[in-house]
């Protein structure tokens, strides 16, 4: 690359870690939030199934 252009474009490299950090924080933050929400929902769904099955069993017994 031409030395002058190399000098101009070297400015891009100074900003690179900040851009990478911004995207990493954004995606990791969103993925973690969504991941935990899905995991919690899964757990709650299982609890609901168990409790509602217990209710149904009790309803039949009565």
């Amino acid at each position: 690359m031409d030395p002058t252009l190399k000098e101009v474009y070297s400015l891009v490299l100074t900003q690179w870690p900040l851009v990478a950090a911004a995207y990493a924080l954004l995606w990791v933050g969103l993925m973690a939030y969504i991941g935990f929400a899905l995991k919690r929902m899964n757990g709650l769904g299982k609890q609901v199934e168990v409790l509602e099955a217990a209710l149904a069993r009790r309803g039949k017994a009565e």
């Binding site: 031409d2 252009l5 900003q15 929902m41 609901v48 409790l51």
Partner: protein
């Protein structure tokens, strides 16, 4: 309940595809704009080339910043033209057509340096494609929270309080993402981590208000009073959102403002796709959290029935 989580998953899938598309567009299609300029000694063909520059240098010692540049140095009655090869507080050396000429700094009466000006490539602008959409979503979801808070005050129905609370949670998530990406952009563009300028200050106040909403909720035990106070606080807090949004257009601010026609097509398309994608992701998160809330209600209801 199932329909809410199905809606959430569909929105999440669509939002994921669109944000991924926007991400690829941002880095592989949209160009890098110029932000200010950079001066160089040499000249090369480039779309960033803006033209030559000539600048008078007030004191000889400043020539140290221009080693490699062409210069015209005037001493008492003599002008030397050449490329600066060496410069210090005391002297400057020029290469004048192969001859090395050293001039004492004290003898320099004036100096003019010349070179090329190029647009400064602003790679940090890549943060904008997702920073702005997450900020917009934070304003939109805050508006949704204020709407449901108002509905709660009008009807006193618990479901509106739940919706407002979940919307505030999503607002806080997007505010944190906006702050994180914004601080990194500020560092890239302005060279500082933070500046107390109008947009950043009003957005920081909004962040504190949203955090205060949850502090308030946790500090009131009675459920109905808690919901009422939180609803009133959320509506009052929302007043800051339009102030923060419009302030850059109303008073002088360093924060950039998107202007009509200010973006080239690849940039605009990537930005719009990112906005739609983020909106869907925000909606998906809201629906997921609402689904969770409804499941918790069903568990409580089932437990009450089993105990009774």
């Amino acid at each position: 309940m199932k329909s809410a989580s199905t809606r959430a998953l569909i929105a999440l899938a669509l939002g994921g595809v669109l944000t991924l598309g926007a991400f690829l567009g941002t880095f592989f299609w949209a160009g890098v704009p110029d932000f200010g300029f950079v001066r160089t000694a040499g000249r090369a063909e480039s779309v960033r080339y803006q033209g030559p520059f000539k600048q008078e240098v007030a004191e000889a010692r400043y020539l140290q910043n221009y080693v490699g540049y062409r210069a015209e140095v005037e001493t008492d009655g003599d002008i030397v033209q050449g490329t600066i090869t060496e410069a210090s507080d005391d002297a400057v050396t020029l290469d004048a057509d192969g001859d090395s000429v050293t001039i004492d700094a004290a003898d320099v009466t004036s100096a003019i340096v010349s070179g090329s000006t190029y647009g400064r490539p602003d790679w940090g602008q890549k943060i904008f494609y997702f920073h702005v959409p997450v900020a917009e979503i934070s304003f939109i979801v805050f508006a949704v929270a204020a709407f449901y808070s108002l509905r709660f005050i009008m009807t006193r129905r618990r479901q509106y309080d739940q919706k407002a609370r979940v919307a505030m949670e999503v607002t806080l998530t997007f505010i944190m993402l906006t702050m994180a990406t914004g601080i990194l952009w500020t560092r890239a563009a302005w060279g500082v981590w933070w500046e107390w300028e109008p947009r950043l200050t009003t957005y920081f106040i909004m962040t504190l208000l949203v955090i205060a909403y949850f502090v308030l909720r946790n500090s009131v035990e009675d459920e109905e009073r808690r919901a009422l106070y939180a609803a009133a606080f959320s509506i009052l807090g929302f007043i800051d959102a339009p102030i923060s949004f419009f302030i850059t257009r109303l008073i002088p601010s360093n924060h950039p403002v998107i202007e009509r026609g200010g973006l080239e097509t690849p940039m605009l398309v990537s930005f719009i796709v990112a906005q739609i994608g983020m909106l869907l992701v925000g909606y998906a998160i809201y629906q997921l959290r609402m689904g969770e809330m409804k499941l918790t209600d069903r568990i409580e209801h089932a437990k009450t029935l089993l105990e009774g």
